[in-house]
């Protein structure tokens, strides 16, 4: 009898359903009292990958912020003597045996070894490279998201001619090939400021500018789309009817509802900028002071050095890979946690 067989099965599956609790019990009060952000955070905390990634990112942030202190702790610094004290010019410019690997035993004087040809301390350059990388990517992310969010909000909410004009600019910037533009702009900026005493700082600022000029369009489009759907919702209409000024509607009514997409796109922009910064430095159009993971990779990407002294290339590579990967995974996890439609 088919019905008889189906009956117990249906019953059994129903047994798996969570038991409905009494809405007035302590347990359910706790749940209902959570804000959306608290729910997201508790979801995040339960995500093992997210926790590990957050720890890794925290490690890099500590390295970046306390680069000077950590360097001092290990007795290393960016300042070093002349190259011939550290490296052997007749042996491919590789470090001398007393400087540690690859030709000698590990030494605490240079925990991560010294660079071939120049004798720069790898650890100090790694730590400060981390700082440069995070400073530039954070800076660029901040500027790009501020510009992107403002333009997206205005375009989406005001609509009409303003939307048309702003959307045109978004599309126009999207058509400019980033690498070509960066390759063109970087030398012009460098030449304009090359006699300045603060050249290194100016170079970083111009890099942040270039990165953010070409990085705001994605978030602007996203926000514009969200605002287009939100602005017809009842609470916005109500606010309008009440005579709220546009600025207040934008900031107080719309922005809080956009927190999720903003956090998500920021968390995904950050790793993209870290990778871009390194890529530009590798191409020689980013930071040229040498204190940059991309620049170290450029110097280390020489077949001889890689064969004889792979650590030199692997150190900055590991830095970039670990940072970008954990930022990306963390970004994904945040997206999942903030999205009420996903189930974990």
């Amino acid at each position: 009898m088919t019905a008889g067989i189906a009956g117990p099965e249906a019953l059994g599956s129903m047994d798996d359903e969570p038991q409905l609790e009494d809405p007035n019990s302590d347990n359910s009060k706790e749940i209902s009292g959570k804000s959306p952000m608290q729910i997201a955070l508790s979801r995040l905390a339960r995500d093992k990958i997210a926790v590990v990634c957050a720890l890794v990112v925290l490690f890099f942030i500590i390295c970046a912020v306390f680069a000077g202190v950590i360097s001092k702790l290990f007795g290393v610094s960016l300042e070093s003597g002349l190259a011939s004290q550290y490296v052997d010019g007749l042996n491919s410019g590789l470090p001398k045996p007393e400087m540690g690997p690859p030709n000698g035993p590990f030494t605490w004087d240079h925990p991560m070894g010294v660079a071939p040809r120049t004798g720069d301390d790898n650890m100090a350059y790694w730590l400060y490279g981390c700082r440069v990388s995070l400073m530039i990517s954070t800076g660029a992310t901040m500027f790009a998201s501020i510009v992107g969010i403002s333009i997206g909000l205005l375009a989406g909410f005001l609509g009409g001619a303003v939307d048309k004009i702003l959307s045109f600019f978004i599309d126009m910037f999207l058509t400019i090939p980033f690498l070509l533009a960066a390759l063109t702009i970087a030398p012009i900026l460098s030449e304009r400021f090359n006699t300045s005493d603060n050249y290194a700082t100016i170079q970083m600022i111009s890099l942040v500018t270039v990165l953010s000029i070409f990085g705001w369009m994605g978030i602007a489009r996203l926000i514009r789309g969200e605002v287009l759907s939100l602005r017809e919702r009842e609470f916005v209409q109500a606010a309008r009817v009440m005579g709220m000024p546009t600025s207040r509607i934008l900031v107080k009514e719309l922005l809080p509802n956009l927190a999720a997409p903003i956090i998500i796109s920021i968390s995904l922009m950050l790793p993209a900028f870290v990778a871009l910064e390194a890529g530009l430095a590798f191409l020689g159009i980013g930071v040229t002071s040498g204190i940059s993971w991309g620049q170290i990779i450029l110097k280390a990407s020489n077949p001889t050095f890689f064969r004889e002294y792979p650590q030199y290339l692997l150190q900055p590579m590991l830095g970039i890979v670990a940072l970008v990967l954990s930022l990306n995974l963390l970004g994904d996890a945040i997206r999942d946690a903030l999205d009420p439609k996903t189930r974990r």
Binding site: G93, T118, E191, G284, Q295, T304
Partner: protein
């Protein structure tokens, strides 16, 4: 001759290159692995040498030779009159473009000046103001027509057009020595397409006679430049188009040329071996690949695969030297290139000789070489003066009694002596930011100078430093008090080293050095009897260095060439510091 070899490195190199370090102490720098290199000498002359060229032992016909030129952009134009770079001239003079005279490599590796389009090395009157070359009648263009004396005269006439060929060697030599050159603007700028208005040259039968404004005993050497060769009359050789596909009269002709990328040469069937005393036509063709990546080329050359067997590379990365020195054996050739790298304190701004000497003591020679990607004692050796080792008349003196090496304490003493002891002396210089090696070398220079009591402002530039140094109106250039030049001799005589670098207002005199006694002496030397000139240049070299010390020679330069397994007769050409293209062949 300008060394634009690794453009980047020059950048670097100029400032960063060279000079004195504790390593090798003599010209035959021992490479540390029992590799000995012959001293380069100035060479000899053989005016009776006639074609065909002596066959190379075991030479075989056929095959195509690929030449990799890492970091070397190569010539922008192939016009023989416009060429004045080591790369371009070495290729074209050996393979495509014949001139009045040429060099042949003797058994000991020394260059011998032998006839080429002329039947001998030219005859001159007693005071070297009139030279006559008899043009041979059996040389042919690639289209089968004979090379005529009129065409040679026209080619020589073209070298006077410094508007059409601003970077040509004629601007230095033809313009300074040929009679009436000052008033003659050249066949193109002067609207004189048949070169009739210049009276300095006359053709009679096969004889071409050139009159000189001042005595020019080195005309036979100048004749070895491709600018002193034939050019088709009239429109056929109109610049700039002629530079893309010049008519060849050497053993090879240009099949295709993409500037900064690739030059392909194929056999010139019309070339008559009997008419040429030094060139060969063993290989079927040549492919020159410019602007190659050093690391990539090193991997190809060391891999021994089919790509590398019939190939050669014009340099070897310093990171490969230690590992491949033994393995390569004869296939690795070190060639002295008769070049000097200098840094040049501005003579008008740094007026105290003690400050210039302090700079020399504060320059960390060996560190700059290492971080700039050179091998100390091998590709760079310490220098004592401007004239390179082996040049006739070169004196083995030391400015301060012994080789100047890095000694920051001595530098501080000298600065104190000059009255700058209390605060750092400001040095403003530029470096080529695009090349990380140049930047790394600049860091070493900065460290050395600062330890020696200077403060350094290093300005990053995005273009070749020569573009800044040679541009008198450049606002960055006006701030500089330290510049530099890498200079190679055009022929083995002091007259191609000292005047181009140290004569007042010479283009490459980036030190702005101007002492009337030196200027006068330079003019005077060219009027001396020929056999006294060499030692006179040597004496002047010593006098300039000890009395004025206007430039700091940081190194003499050597090149490393890597030859593939199937390249026969792997040798270098000592006359120009390039692979010996004339005598190479492919082994079966």
């Amino acid at each position: 001759m300008k060394r634009n070899k690794p453009l980047a490195l020059v950048a670097g190199a100029a400032l960063l290159t060279l000079a004195a370090c504790g390593g090798g102490s003599s010209g035959d720098g021992d490479a540390g692995k029992d590799r000995k290199y012959a001293d380069q000498e100035g060479g000899t002359k053989d005016e009776t040498r006639q074609g065909p060229a002596t066959a190379v032992d075991g030479a075989e016909q056929g095959g195509t030779i690929t030449v990799y030129l890492p970091g070397d952009p190569g010539p922008n134009t192939l016009d023989p009159t416009a060429g004045w770079s080591v790369t371009g001239n070495s290729i074209q003079q050996a393979l495509t473009s014949r001139s009045l005279t040429q060099y042949s490599r003797d058994d000991k590796g020394q260059p011998v000046l032998v006839p080429d389009l002329a039947t001998d090395l030219g005859s001159h009157n007693d005071d070297f103001t009139e030279w006559t070359f008899t043009i041979r009648d059996d040389a042919k263009w690639e289209d089968g027509k004979p090379v005529t004396a009129e065409e040679v005269a026209f080619g020589i006439c073209r070298s006077l057009d410094s508007e059409a060929f601003p970077s040509g060697a004629g601007t230095e030599y033809s313009k300074s020595y040929f009679e009436g050159a000052d008033d003659y603007q050249g066949p193109y700028t002067g609207k004189d397409p048949e070169c009739k208005k210049w009276s300095g040259i006359s053709v009679s039968g096969q004889d071409v006679t050139i009159k000189m404004a001042t005595p020019f005993p080195d005309m036979d050497y100048w004749g070895s430049f491709m600018a002193m060769g034939a050019a088709p009359l009239g429109k056929a050789s109109q610049p700039p188009n002629y530079g893309n596909q010049p008519l060849a009269n050497g053993p090879y002709r240009v099949e295709s040329f993409r500037p900064n990328e690739e030059l392909t040469l194929v056999k010139n069937e019309q070339w008559a071996g009997d008419s040429d005393p030094a060139r060969h036509q063993y290989a079927d063709g040549w492919v020159f690949k410019f602007n190659q990546d050093q690391a990539k080329v090193d991997e190809i050359m060391l891999s021994g695969n089919s790509d590398s067997q019939a190939a050669l590379s014009s340099s070897l990365g310093s990171d490969k030297y230690a590992g491949s020195n033994e393995e390569l054996g004869d296939r690795l050739v070190q060639q002295t290139s008769q070049c000097v790298s200098t840094i040049a304190p501005d003579y008008t701004k740094i007026t105290d000789i003690n400050v210039r000497k302090a700079l020399a003591y504060a320059y960390p020679y060996e560190d700059v070489w290492i971080s700039g990607g050179e091998v100390p004692g091998v590709t760079r050796i310490p220098a004592n003066s401007v004239m390179p080792p082996g040049m006739a008349g070169k004196k083995d003196f030391q400015v301060d009694g012994e080789q100047i090496t890095y000694d920051p304490e001595k530098s501080k003493e000298l600065l104190a002596e000059a009255g700058y002891g209390d605060k750092p002396y400001q040095i403003t210089m530029i470096y080529y930011e695009v090349d990380p090696l140049a930047k790394a070398a600049q860091d070493q220079v900065t460290k050395g100078f600062e330890a020696g009591g200077f403060s350094v402002k290093a300005i990053p530039v995005q273009v070749s430093p020569y573009d800044i140094w040679l541009d008198k109106d450049n606002k960055v250039n006006k701030q500089l008090n330290l510049r530099g030049v890498n200079w190679c001799s055009d022929w083995p005589a002091g007259s191609t080293m000292l005047p181009p670098l140290l004569k007042a207002n010479a283009v490459y005199n980036t030190a702005q050095f101007d002492e009337s006694s030196v200027n006068d002496r330079m003019l005077e030397i060219s009027t001396l009897p020929l056999d006294e000139q060499a030692s006179a240049w040597g004496d002047l070299d010593e006098k300039i260095m000890t009395e004025y010390f206007p430039v700091i020679p940081t190194a003499f330069r050597n090149d490393l060439f890597v030859f593939g397994e199937k390249i026969g007769n792997p040798t270098g050409d000592g006359s120009i510091g390039a692979p010996n293209y004339k005598d190479l062949f492919v082994k079966k």
